[in-house]
Structures are given as structure tokens and as C-alpha cells.
């Protein structure tokens, strides 16, 4: 396997616009840098119809390979698969629709210097409508409230990072949006650069209620994965302890009224309420314990740390890997 400089992964899974023209522009931009590069097109079956035109581009001399999945696995999986097949030292993910001017992608490579492991794009200045901007702003506001590190544009699919980054994180579902957060958690240096948004990216984006709900759970997932990855009991236990605390105080109140003020306890609906809270508290805690059991039994396979290098030694391979 010959090693080259850059592998550009283009997941064709969700949205496609002007793809042939765009890929050629990417190709010219990369060629101008003088680096060796290849394209990997990862196509979901729903977008099969673009295969011939991509094949035509490859025949015309754009170095690249086409991978067609047999079912829809989503963008995150496509990127993970692309990373495994990539020969490049640097991996770029490029979108099959225009988010920034294609010539600007070389700026990412310029910024990926020694101290930086990943470069992502903040589309700024933005040219799209107030509605798009407002929903994006709210999404990031909530995310940044909890995140350890603040980024402004998770929606931009154009990223560049060093190859070993993908071996330390695991992508599935909709996690591709949060590669920067996951990378930061594993100790990689992520840099966000401002690049102007392309006018072609400016159409109004109104999604289905389902999509918004999905985004909300993406947020919860990423907060859980980055903050409580190794300690589920602290996540569930905090909620459980609050519920348990309130219910115990409430039950104490009912008990005191019953004993000292002769107020009947058995016919009070309040008793049911506090019993339910008690049950909720114990259940949350118990779920946390199940989480801890999963972490404990799999701890030897997933290391709790990442090593940059070892002076005077070599890293021992992972158990069971």
C-alpha cells in the first residue's frame, strides 16, 4: 500500500448538488497544492444514479475510487469506512454539495500544521437567511453550554485531520457532526477557521419535526459521551439522588404529620406522588449501575487514555485488538 499525502472522503449519503462540477473544482484545488491525493466516493444506494458521472470523472483522470454500500448506513459510518480504506496521511471529508468555495479547501491543509491535529470550518460570514442562522445559533448555544470546548459550526462537513485520529474515535449514527468534540476528548488539537459561506449553500432549511427531535437527541448523546463516558453512575446517579432526596423529605413530612399532628397518611394522594419519586430515584441509580457494569467488563478493551508517543519505548498493542 503506497502512502500518499491526502485522501479526500466524499460521503454521498444525504444531499447532492452539482456534484461533477464540484468534484472537478476540488480536484483542481488539490492539484494546485502539489500534494499527492486520492478521492474516495462512498455512495449510499439511494444515490446510485450519480455513480456513472463519478465514474466518468475518474476516467477523465481524477484519482479516486467508488465504494457503493448495499444499504443506507449513514454519513458517520461512511466516514469510518473511508478512513479504513484511505492511503493518505491526512484525511479530508468533503461534501457533495457546495458549503464553501471549493478553492478554499486548501486553507484547511495549510492550517493542519504540526501542533494541530484537525482543522474544521466555521462558515463565516454567512450568507443564508435569518431563519437558518437562528436555528444554527440555538443549536450551538445549547451544545456549548455543556461542551468542554466551543465550536461554532458543527453543520459544515468539510474537515481535515490526521489519519490516526479516526483510530481513536468511533463513529456511528449521527456522530460525524461531532468529530471535533470526540477528537478533543481524546486529546487531539482542533482548530476552527473562518471561511466565507458559498452563496449556493444559502437556501432555506426547514426540516421535519423528526429531524429536529433527532438533533436534540444527538445533543444529549454527545454530552453523555463526552462528559460521562466512563462514569454512567454519576450521570444517572445525580438525577436519581435528587428524586430520592425529594421523595424522602416528602415521606418524612407525611410521617411527621401522621405521628405528631394526627393527619391521616393512608388516604393522601401525596403519598403516591412521593412513592413514585422514590421509585424513580432508585431506578435511575440502578440503571447507572448497569452502565458501570458494562464499562467495567469492557474496560480492558477500551483504553481510558490515548498516547502521543513513548520515549525509549514502543506502545504495546491493545488487548484483544
Amino acid at each position: 500500500m503506497s502512502s500518499i499525502d491526502v485522501t479526500a472522503i466524499v460521503p454521498i449519503t444525504e444531499r447532492v448538488e452539482h456534484v461533477d462540477q464540484l468534484i472537478l473544482s476540488y480536484h483542481h484545488a488539490l492539484a494546485a497544492t502539489g500534494k499527492s491525493y486520492e478521492f474516495l466516493f462512498l455512495i449510499s444506494p439511494a444515490w446510485d444514479r450519480f455513480k456513472p458521472s463519478l465514474q466518468a470523472i475518474i476516467d477523465e483522470g481524477v484519482p479516486g475510487k467508488i465504494v457503493t454500500f448495499s444499504r443506507h448506513f449513514g454519513e458517520a459510518t461512511a466516514i469510518q469506512v473511508g478512513g479504513e480504506m484511505a492511503n493518505g496521511e491526512i484525511i479530508m471529508t468533503l461534501t457533495p454539495y457546495e458549503q464553501i468555495a471549493p478553492e478554499a479547501i486548501t486553507q484547511l491543509l495549510d492550517n493542519l500544521t504540526d501542533g494541530t491535529d484537525m482543522v474544521i470550518v466555521n462558515r463565516s460570514p454567512r450568507v443564508d437567511g435569518a431563519f437558518n442562522q437562528a436555528q444554527a445559533r440555538w443549536f450551538h448555544r445549547i451544545l456549548n453550554l455543556f461542551a468542554e470546548v466551543k465550536f461554532n459550526d458543527m453543520g459544515c462537513g468539510i474537515k481535515a485531520f490526521k489519519r490516526d485520529l479516526l483510530t481513536e474515535i468511533r463513529l456511528y449514527g449521527d456522530l460525524h457532526r461531532f468529530i471535533p468534540q470526540l477528537a478533543h476528548q481524546q486529546g487531539f488539537k482542533v482548530k476552527e477557521i473562518d471561511i466565507a459561506q458559498s452563496p449556493r449553500d444559502a437556501h432555506r432549511r426547514v426540516y421535519s419535526a423528526n429531524t429536529y427531535l433527532g438533533r436534540l437527541f444527538d445533543l444529549l448523546t454527545i454530552i453523555f459521551l463526552t462528559k460521562f463516558n466512563q462514569k454512567p453512575l454519576r450521570f444517572f446517579g445525580a438525577g436519581g439522588a435528587i428524586a430520592l432526596g425529594i421523595s424522602l423529605l416528602g415521606l418524612l413530612y407525611i410521617f411527621i404529620e401522621r405521628v405528631f399532628f394526627d393527619v391521616g397518611a393512608a388516604d393522601r394522594p401525596l403519598l403516591v406522588l412521593f412513592s413514585l419519586l422514590l421509585v424513580l430515584g432508585v431506578q435511575l441509580g440502578a440503571i447507572g449501575l448497569v452502565g458501570e457494569t458494562i464499562i467495567f467488563t469492557h474496560a480492558k478493551n477500551s483504553r481510558p487514555y490515548t498516547i502521543r508517543k513513548i520515549v525509549n519505548g514502543e506502545e504495546t498493542p491493545k488487548d484483544g485488538a
Binding site: V282, I295, T297, A299, G313
Partner: protein, 336 residues
């Protein structure tokens, strides 16, 4: 380089003032092992010159390895990284802040060779603040001993000596270092406790404060649960479920004796069902834990043969790996 006899693992976090002194003290203390030991400094994402100084020393001393983390992960992952990358049969872990004294190591190694799997240090003359460090730590140790059944006097002491083959098989993450003796006892390890010296901090600030009281409580609950894995997770969850179960049974008799009294009977019956529900839920989770352990790559019985003693047999005998050692551990402490 031939395989060393001893690996000394030291996690370092912003210890630029201490690194060189630390290295020299260890080398002095391990004079009897000269040429037969290695040191692993684990740089836990320090923001000062710790890594530069350590690699500078490593350039002149091939027996010093420096493991550089990508970020700060905490003391336990740092020790785990050192243990994973250690090559000797015996592993020593200690703090990077010079509060432990490397001169205790030869005695502890001698103790280990008497036939123990882990020797833990006991800072009997601890040089720390009373209110914020010593008293909370004493209470925590009592509780850990009670919960885990391994009454170590000083779980917080980082100076410990292990047999590498046992230690390398143990899951080790978060803030587990406090529970190592208890965890190892899962695999039937023999634990010894030895008094060690303890110095006040010379440079820098103490990095671990009082804020971890509630964390220790959650950790204890976690440890109790994972310790139950070796025997019967279902039983542990049944024990938690016992209280709501008994309560709901009690209510049953109240309701049965009082069926005609209208509203209060309905409320009692509702609570009865809610509590019964909780008991069933907990027992079901016990079975889920059983399933998780059953399907997981972790097999604690693999540790049992490592710690089992074989007398009057051939050396290469195949041991019965179904050895259920439970949580009972021979425990000794050495005075003086």
C-alpha cells in the same frame, strides 16, 4: 536491553520542579537493583515543562521510558498506561510529587517475594492537612474496607507493588486506584500492607482536593456492584430489591385487612403495586448484569489460576480455573 526485574510507574502532572529530583531518588533507592529495573514516567497532559525535562533525562538514561498522553486524563489512567507498558514481572506505582519515598521500595519488593500478589503502602505518619485530607481519608478507608471486605488502612496511598501478570489483567480506569486491593482480591490476590514514609509536599500544590466525597460514595456503590459480578449479580440486585418487596408485602396485609375503607385502600394498593414493580425491575436488572458479564471479554476466572498456590505438584500443571475465591482474602499487616 534484557528484561528488567522491576518497573517503577510514576504519573506526572505539572511536576516540572520534581521530575529530576524524583528520578535521582528512585535511582538511588534502587541501588540494589542496579541495571535490572526500568522507570516509566507517564506525562498526564502537563501544561508545563514536565515532558521536556523528563525526555531530557530519558535521552541519557535508556532505562527511563516517558509515556506522553495527548491530554490530561487523571491519576488512574496514567497508572494504567504505565502498567500496560511496563515489561518487568514486578510493578511499582508511586506518586510523582515526592510525597512517597522510593527508599521503601526494596522492602516492599522483599515482602512481595514472600508470596504476596500486591503490597500496599500505609502512610502511618501522614504529612497532610488534618481536616481537609486526613479525616475524610480515614472515613473513606473505613467505608471502603466495610463495603469491599478488604480492610486496608490506607487505600489512597499510591505506593504499591504488584505482580505484573495479575495487575495487567485488571480493569483499571476513572479513579479506581483507590480500590485496587479490593479489585485484586476479586481474582483471589493475597494482599499485604507495609508501613511507608510520607513527606510533606516540597514544591507545587496538591492536585487532589476535598471535592470528591460524593464521588467516593458513587464509586463505592459501583465497586460493590462490580464486585458482585464474580459471584451473582442477581443476588446483589435482589438485596437492593428486598426493602421495597418487604414493604409492599406489608402493605398487602394492610389492604387485605382494610378492603372496605374506600380511598385509603386504593392508595395503599397503588403504592403496593408501585413498590412491587420496583422490586421486579431491580431483579430484572440483576439478570441484565449477569448477561452483560457473561457476554463480555472480561473473565475473572483467568486471574484465579495466576493467584492460586500450587503445592507439591509439577510446575506446569493445568489449574482448575473454576476456582471461586470470592471476596475473602488473606490479609496481613506488618507492624514496624
Amino acid at each position: 536491553m534484557t528484561k528488567p526485574e522491576l518497573s517503577v510507574v510514576v504519573p506526572l502532572y505539572n511536576e516540572e520542579d520534581n521530575v529530576r529530583l524524583m528520578f535521582e531518588r528512585i535511582v538511588d533507592a534502587l541501588e540494589p537493583f542496579k541495571g535490572r529495573f526500568e522507570i516509566l514516567f507517564v506525562n498526564d497532559g502537563s501544561r508545563d515543562k514536565t515532558f521536556e525535562i523528563a525526555s531530557g533525562i530519558a535521552a541519557e538514561n535508556p532505562f527511563l521510558k516517558v509515556v506522553d498522553f495527548r491530554r490530561n486524563y487523571g491519576q488512574t489512567p496514567a497508572m494504567a498506561a504505565g502498567i500496560d507498558n511496563a515489561t518487568a514481572e514486578i510493578i511499582v506505582t508511586m506518586d510523582g510529587d515526592l510525597q512517597n519515598d522510593p527508599s521503601d521500595i526494596p522492602d516492599m519488593v522483599a515482602k512481595l517475594r514472600e508470596g504476596y500478589d500486591i503490597v500496599v503502602g500505609w502512610r502511618h505518619n501522614r504529612q497532610d492537612k488534618l481536616i481537609t485530607r486526613k479525616i475524610p481519608s480515614r472515613i473513606a478507608n473505613k467505608m471502603i474496607g466495610k463495603v469491599t471486605g478488604v480492610p486496608i488502612k490506607d487505600n489512597g496511598c499510591s505506593l504499591k507493588v504488584y505482580r505484573a501478570d495479575v495487575m495487567k489483567k485488571m480493569p483499571f480506569y476513572n479513579e479506581m486506584h483507590r480500590f485496587i486491593p479490593a479489585l485484586l482480591s476479586l481474582g483471589g490476590a493475597k494482599v499485604a500492607e507495609v508501613k511507608v514514609k510520607h513527606h510533606a509536599r516540597q514544591f507545587g500544590e496538591s492536585k487532589y482536593g476535598l471535592s470528591r466525597v460524593y464521588k467516593v460514595l458513587f464509586d463505592l456503590l459501583m465497586i460493590k456492584t462490580v464486585l458482585s459480578l464474580i459471584s451473582h449479580p442477581v443476588r446483589w440486585f435482589v438485596r437492593i430489591a428486598l426493602l421495597p418487596l418487604l414493604f409492599s408485602l406489608g402493605l398487602f396485609f394492610v389492604v387485605a385487612g382494610d378492603i372496605s375503607s374506600g380511598d385509603s385502600a386504593v392508595i395503599s394498593a397503588t403504592i403496593l403495586i408501585i413498590l412491587m414493580n420496583l422490586a421486579l425491575f431491580l431483579v430484572s436488572l440483576g439478570f441484565i448484569c449477569e448477561l452483560i458479564y457473561n457476554k463480555s471479554p472480561l473473565d475473572l476466572s483467568k486471574i484465579a489460576p495466576l493467584t492460586a498456590r500450587v503445592d507439591a505438584f509439577e510446575q506446569n500443571i493445568v489449574l482448575d480455573s473454576a476456582d471461586d475465591t470470592g471476596t475473602e482474602t488473606p490479609h496481613e499487616s506488618q507492624k514496624g
